[in-house]
Symmetry: C2
């Protein structure tokens, strides 16, 4: 009934250039562990899914519906469905954890990247 | 439209004895940052909400529908709605991040605990 997995076993998916995600998918929600390369950019986009996240390490500048915020470790965000948002990653890259509801069915088509040790948490 | 908050600003709620959560709530999902005291126990319970989580630090033993698993940093779990689960926390305590869908409306009634610095991430 339950699924257990270690982050290191989970495939890395290419979400954007320089942005890789390990996904733990459910039925009604998706939880993802995301690595963003230094100075990478998530271009403005929107989706019907509600999105909540936290910065684990590094820094990023989040723009949500024209409101821009610099975010470091421990910073959280909550984005209603349908609201445009973009991210500019700081010079040291960033690791974030994000959850979406409903499930990100659209991510089923993402390309699998070469496996690599998760940057987080330190083992 | 968006909400930004630092973990350190978010109230700590009492979920169980020895278990405190900082919640970033959405409409259709809930994301929570949970601190579990050493040797604390989350007694067996179930809820209609689907639940996905990851261990950030420490250790715990998760029993989901009679399947028991020892989990350390980087370990993840996915629990369908309605499935009984319980947690026994290791001797050093644990920090976990969990997401539920739908939103945990039932948590609106939780007691607020004394504020304390978040154990994670290191600032």
């Amino acid at each position: 009934m339950a699924a257990f997995a270690d982050l290191a076993e989970i495939a890395r998916l290419r979400v954007w250039d320089g942005v890789a995600a390990r996904v733990v998918g459910g039925t009604g929600l998706t939880l993802a562990f995301i690595e963003l390369e230094p100075s990478s950019i998530v271009p403005e986009h929107s989706h019907p899914h509600e999105q909540i996240g936290v910065c684990v390490s590094g820094s990023l500048s989040f723009t949500v519906d024209r409101e821009e915020r610099d975010i470091g470790p421990g910073g959280t965000w909550e984005i209603p469905g349908g609201v445009p948002h973009e991210v500019r990653v700081g010079p040291d890259g960033a690791s974030v954890i994000e959850a979406w509801s409903p499930h990100r069915d659209d991510w089923d088509a993402l390309e699998t990247l070469e496996q690599a040790p998760p940057p987080w948490p330190a083992s």
